[in-house]
Amino acid sequence: MDYLELTARFFSLTDANVRIVVAGSVLLGAIAGAFGCFTFLQKRSLIGDAIAHSTLPGVAFAFLILGEKQLHWLLLGAAISGWLGALAFNAIVRYSKLKLDAALGIVLSVFFGLGIIMLTFIQKSGAGAQSGLDKFLFGQAAAIGRADVLILAISGVVMLLALLALYGRLKLLTFDSGFAASLGINVGLLQFILTTLLVVTVTIGLQAVGVVLMSAILIIPAAAARQWTDKLSKMILLSALFGMISGILGAYISFLKPHFPTGPWIVIVAALIFSLSILFAPQRGLVSRLRRHLHNRRSMTQDHILKVLFKAGMDSRSWKEFTPRMQIAQMWSFTKGELGRGLRKLVAKGQLKKEGNMYRLTESGVNAGARVTRLHRLWEVYLARYLELPQDHVHRDAEEMEHIITPEVEKKLEEMLGYPLLDPHQQEIPYFDKVEK
């Protein structure tokens, strides 16, 4: 069967088995994505990792007792031992001087080691060879059966209700647990509930994602969602969505290649979403930050062009002369590209007039140049007067401030300093762009 046909079979959802796998992956991704937000924001993301690894001995133990693979008992075993793991790292933090990171590392590795020993023992003993317990390590979405989806769906609904009922309090707990406690909210109980919900999430994710990589689907969608929004409710929805997408695509890829485990593919898809978020999210994304940075640099270049041309004509109060581009280039340390772009932009804005290769300021250009010059010199006066800095110390700071002082700050400065006429270098501070208006 070729990939195209498989793809069609997967996404058309005609196959009952596919429907079950998709339903399971969607539910799991959504639940893990949503609850992952809280541990992520509490900066305790690795708690999910420790709990997930702690489930393994429980799975193996349940199998040893039953002698066969009955999923709900295995999951119950997983939940109990995941819980014991959570209990263990909390106890370590409470009763020793170890910090949480060390406690998590210890619990994670000890429980996992124990689980692997038990698993190996089971596989060496005849009946266990076909148990398929090793699927719990890296997950196999195809292993999700009809009964499992029922378990998933029931726990999903219960957890969704819990989230709706406790949303405000979980938010308060996550943001400021001390204040929450001061209001009389039972913070210990709330944290206990959150941990339990996490244990349940991990447990129902064991089949699809597996013990080893379970934490990824708790952390990565939340981290990705944080890039896009500054609102917790939106972050939770987005994180759930990202979790779902990762779950479905992971299941799809392992449907194409059944001998691959699902967990790693889910993680790869989630990581892809995360990378796109880190790069392209508005505000927080690297690309938009880079663009803002470039935009700043360009407007600074324009300010510098206006300033040097303004200062050149300041003594004679005349800006009618055209200046050749070569000469402007020498008035400031412009790079070639940025000067050309800055000149073009200023001409387009109507602040420069161009003739051949020569430029002069228009009236609005003169005013803009006067403003930049004034802001620079006002800031120098401010530094000299209020910080009592000597005059050779004030120029560099003012060089930055001239670009970022807003009209409100400008007004404040002028009033505070009483419209000074000279800067600390005894140069004139121009105001006439204001008077003329």
């Binding site: 924001l41 406790l166 943001f175 929004t229």
Partner: protein, 257 residues
């Protein structure tokens, strides 16, 4: 509010000792606060000022002693205490806005699964207005200045509609105009008969800002009206640190298995 005016002091702390990991950080604290006063708490770093506030709020286990609010145990009186933690105690990059943080102050009045109502939001909005922050209601909290964040915390305590306010360094790291605004707010609360206990770090402004002062350094050094006890001798007692033996023994207890 008259139901609280039963003659009992707003806060009574009796023989209170608090320890972190067995190491005592507050010894045998004993005091009664007068009602309707603005009380500053000062003392050197590590004197246990925040610890005392948290202990009064019941956020820390007590080694010994008890706290009474208007003569009653804390648990039944939480609703009438407003708390302003230190600004640095939370992560301001949390995805939420100013109005939402202030609304959190209403959770003490909600039922078990209750959600804030429109009325709660309106109260939060009022409180933001009172601290001069109504224009910033929908601003993401990481984009607020330090002074603005502090105002948000104060607004959150205001919506608690409390009778007693415990504030941990509300003046720390704020700009001059915020300092003035906070001070006005404290005086307004006082004029309504509220009792305020405020951790303060600037000795220069104690006499100007507060009616009473509590001098603390692991133990209660002095408590009383500013003009009576805020003097060099008592400050020397508080900041002189000549209680090496006390700290030494505290360390020792902490190390004892």
């Amino acid at each position: 509010m008259s139901e609280f005016r039963n003659g009992a002091p707003p806060i009574e702390v009796h023989d209170l000792t608090v320890a972190y990991r067995k190491k005592p950080v507050l010894w045998d604290i004993d005091f009664k606060l007068p009602e309707g006063k603005l009380i500053g708490m000062v003392g050197p770093n590590g004197a246990g000022k925040s610890t005392l506030i948290k202990a009064i709020m019941g956020l820390l286990p007590l080694v010994s002693g008890f706290v009474r609010i208007y003569g009653k145990p804390l648990e039944s009186m939480r609703e009438i205490i407003g708390y302003v933690p230190q600004r640095e105690s939370v992560d301001w990059d949390f995805p939420t806005d100013a109005l939402d943080v202030v609304t959190m102050g209403r959770y003490g009045k909600l039922s078990l699964f209750g959600r804030p109502t429109a009325g709660d939001k309106a109260k939060a909005m009022d409180a933001l207005k009172k601290v001069g922050m109504s224009d910033f209601a929908n601003r993401q909290i990481s984009q607020l200045s330090g002074g603005q964040q502090q105002r948000v915390f104060l607004a959150r305590a205001l919506v608690q509609d409390a009778q007693i306010y415990l504030m941990d360094e509300p003046f720390a790291g704020v700009d001059a105009s915020t300092e003035k605004a906070i001070l006005e707010l404290l005086h307004e609360l006082k004029s309504k008969g509220k009792t305020l206990l405020v951790v303060h770090h600037d000795l220069n402004t104690v006499a100007e800002y507060f009616d009473w002062v509590m001098l603390l350094n692991l133990r209660l050094v002095k408590l009383g009206p500013v003009n009576e006890i805020f003097n060099n001798e008592n400050l020397r007692l508080t900041y002189g640190g000549k209680l090496n033996l006390l700290s030494e023994m505290a360390e020792k207890i902490g190390r004892t298995p």
